[in-house]
Homo-oligomer: 352 residues x 4
């Protein structure tokens, strides 16, 4: 389905080369000042062509709000919004009409629906994430009131991995590098790698790390609606995501309990806290007041500027050869999407 | 919430030391022969005391079906079931009544609800997974009719990792070792490690690998209901799970697109297939007919037979010291739970 | 589906002649004292054999709670419960096994599921309402804390209609007559009618009126989740219900706006109120603080102690002739069910 | 919430005087030819100013589709659509900004949300039904393929009631009278009544009857998702609806079982049918293959062209006096809305 969330609920629509991408945000609290400049800025972070390190396709992506706002503030009624598709060179895709591109959703959509809009991937295009960014930006505005803040950054591109803990990083510096890595040295290496991959018409994967600060203890719905299960589902629904881990994550498989149990203590201000945070801010599926942090793995994008063997819808062998523009690394643009999805999940659980 | 699934939907109830653990399965197709022996056998796989490598607590865990079955077959009406709690030494927990055990859900439940059943972890106890096993066993019976089969095994315990691809393993041999690892050599090492950890009153984490065979192309609901997002959410909702990855997973972050794009071809029988399966059987959130495979990371269990520093509900420092029985490694018993959850997800999407 | 409600959610199971009727209440607030005596008393109101004016079938219907309660109080975790089926003379139904009884659900269940438990109507039996009463009783306990009170009574049986407005009735007197009509004169006539109908082996319909007092202004979710739409759906889901109206109801079709607009005024205590209440306490789908009132129409029960023409599952003509016990009028036992459903709806919206 | 349906799901947005009214249709089957002319025609039926018997406000209400369609056909992806608000004289409402109009949703929205768009009723305006008509028109196109047809007509305006059974009426003639009553004689009386009421600045209520033909046996989800419960909820969610009844409805309260039990028989073509249809095509919540029919009661619209006493948001007494245009009778425009809602419900259950 194309809806996300329970109380704060985004319903999204739109194909890459249709009229528009948009959505409806239902359940947004009333009285939130809808800061359109902030929302547009978040959208600009996922815009193609913003730097040399992402796809150079030109998309203006101006958002228009259609309802749910009066006198600049949300009214508690559904917020409809849209972004017109412009400058979509649909004819660029004519030669791909009957072809199943490797590791794209062409074959599965065709099988499931018996019909598909092949232009630019249609509904399976990453342009769909425009709706997510918009929903997430509105959620961030609502979370601000509750002093909850969400940050995300590129922590790995290919084999270049930022091995420092997030507490040692300057999280205000994320937007200072085009790859959205707050460590300038690592960022430099990542950019070099992306440039090289791009030159070769190839693509590369990576990892986004996200931290949710200020989440009060008590959010989460046992047993199937655990907070990290909702976060995991949200992240895995992003295009190209292949893995999710929170707290100690996969590394936890190697640890002993005596090494990673988080010891409770009482802080000088009386608040209960844990000395370490291997749990990742969630215990038994419910937030415990510590930072929530998690990592999302992304595979390399499937579109290559290279010849690739494949078959067409008739089952015949064929070769595709895409020219022009492609996205050498999805990670820099995935950063704001991860943040947006996290904001929607946290707000949704906050409002239950 | 305590319901799972959309069409095939399990609602679960029960605390570790209450009257019973049970649930309601809604949306099960009519006409399925309810093989109670198979279901009890699946339950026995998660039963404590089944081997030296899991907790030695004695639980009989006999399932009773209350509705939804007539003449041995499902009728399409809800299937109520329960397992009575017996031999629960509730008084063992008297000294833990006012204590927040490290890395348990004591503190978060108390904060969220203002009240909790402290005995054996109450609702947050892994005994809750009895309902999951029951639901998953019924789902497996339904999937059998569609020739869909799900297998899971322990692929890592602590640092002992089974590095062979699942296609090289004898998946029929999983149940031949108490740790549920089909490679006897690796299984031996895993058991040695668990024995040692147990002796030290400590615990150890691990990884479960799961494969879904025979899933037809076309299952999955873009864009938020992607098949792997549903699988991820299901797996992350299992006690002690910290991470989920499918297909190339986190390793995909290091690859280039040219290395991992799955090339389509036409098999001799006319079926469309891919030469490799880095995608993990899912593309654009929809199954493509290849094997679906994924991995779930589990942290070490929080209950240690050791002194641990912590605080009580009044914020005072205290020391807990649990005696008797504990679970040195959750992984062997997590294997059937992973399988059960996968079966429910796949069936749910199959029925949409 | 067999679940009801969003936040406060009842999932029910059970057939008339299976092992048990029961359910799971999810989302009940923590800290409610679970008054089992009250709940059993509510169940006793729908018990067969309670008076001469309902079916004389003997059912003890003792409720057992299985989870979600600790120290007598709800813990916020799901409340499992069941009522064993006893003294079910299943063999009484042997001759009905292959027959479609007129105006029963035999034919539709068989068509939908291809299989059905014919004994006593199986899942479509009114015994299923045991779960509703249990869920509604728990909801009433929670509503009590919010000073919301719900009352219901028989306002019509056959052509005997109680034409006085509810404000003129002694609503404390409802349980003083076996038909649950607070006007003793009307009740007498209703009982006479039921006796006569019963003697003839026939059945008769009626109407239940329900009033929700103390509901604060602001409950209801426009535009599809209007409070009265949820109430209507709840009431229409009760066996034998054929109609629902609230406020001025069907009579409103004849009125002019100038006759029935409810004029706002400020009460001496400062509260905003309306001079009349044709709206029935709901405006634009949201409660306005006035009494919510509505009526539910019930058809006569389909089981007659008379010969009836029909066909069997092979399409052959046949005659059925039920002997023994039947329910001459469903209305007295529908009264507590209406109240229970209303309580669950109001609480659900209260908790959103 | 602002979503309707489970499989075929409409999410709607928009206020009377905002930028646009629109929505998203999720779950529409792929491959349906999206006949825009038909959809626009359905919208025109609810358009103000279409005749002397409805409000004379001018609204063009051209629908624009934004996604989900390729080559003229639905693709199974969400269908976004919108209708721009034009010629909305927002300043007409300036004097109503701080006033609670009698029997409108002004007070309840203000209480619930603390903020509201007062212009033309904002979200509570009947303009919201544009989304319903659009969703219902698409549903009708999908139902056509299954040979299911839905018709609705005005069966009562004020005291003028069309007392003939629908089977005696020419259902093709509904659109030949501006009030949408297929009996020209009754229609004439209804129009006279509306004219008179209009002249007096008053409004009048009425009833819409709806028939669903060709619905196969087996649609409906016991026990809470009974088909008529879903229809009832859908109808009661329409602005100004006060009651719903199906089959024998409220009249059924007066009948005896022996009078209204529907006797099964085998038709000459072998199909199982009932001799009468007091059940209204639904038994035990599941369709039985007979015509489904029901009635929806509408109260008179609250906006009068008369002086009315009320209070403002500060609790002060005031008098409102609306000039210009009003809707003397909502029924003619409610007819297509009832039809649209029925189409969405039936399709939704058809697709489960």
């Amino acid at each position: 389905m194309n809806s996300f969330g329970n109380i704060f609920r985004l319903t999204s629509f739109g194909e890459s080369h249709g009229e528009a991408i948009g959505g409806v945000i239902d359940g947004c609290p009333a009285g939130i000042y809808l800061d359109k400049e902030f929302i547009q800025k978040e959208l600009d972070k996922r815009k193609p062509g913003q730097s040399d390190f992402v796809t150079s396709r030109k998309e203006e992506d101006r958002i228009e709000f259609l309802s749910g706002v009066y006198d600049g503030k949300t009214t508690g009624t559904p917020i409809g919004f849209l972004v017109r598709n412009e400058d979509q060179h649909s004819s660029d895709y004519d030669n791909l009409k009957d072809v199943y591109r490797p590791s794209h959703a062409d074959y599965t959509y065709q099988t499931k629906y018996g019909i598909r809009d092949h232009r630019g991937g249609g509904r399976s295009s990453a342009r769909e994430t425009i709706s997510r960014i918009a929903g997430g930006a509105v959620a961030q505005l609502a979370l601000e009131k509750a002093n909850i803040r969400i940050v995300a950054y590129a922590s790995q591109i290919g084999h270049i991995s930022l091995d420092r803990h997030y507490s040692e990083l300057d999280l205000e510096a994320i937007e200072t590098t085009p790859v959205r890595c707050p460590d300038t040295e690592a960022a430099k290496k990542m950019m070099d790698l992306i440039q090289q991959v791009k030159k070769e018409g190839d693509t590369i994967g990576g990892v986004v790390t996200c931290i949710c600060k200020g989440v009060p203890a008590g959010l989460g719905e046992p047993v199937f609606g655990k907070l990290h299960a909702a976060l995991g589902s949200a992240m895995l629904s992003i295009n190209a995501a292949k893995g999710f881990e929170y707290g100690m994550g996969f590394a936890g498989a190697q640890y002993r309990g005596s090494e990673v149990n988080d010891i409770f203590y009482r802080r000088t201000d009386g608040k209960i806290a844990t000395k370490t945070n291997y749990s990742g801010g969630i215990q038994g599926g419910i937030s415990n007041g510590e930072d929530i942090y998690f990592r999302v793995a992304f595979k390399p994008a499937a579109t290559l500027l290279r010849e690739q063997q494949t078959i067409d819808i008739h089952g015949n062998n064929t070769v595709i050869n895409v020219h022009g523009r492609h996205d050498p690394c999805v990670v820099p643009r995935a950063v704001p999407i991860v943040k947006a999805m996290a904001a929607m999940v946290i707000l949704d659980y906050y409002l239950i």
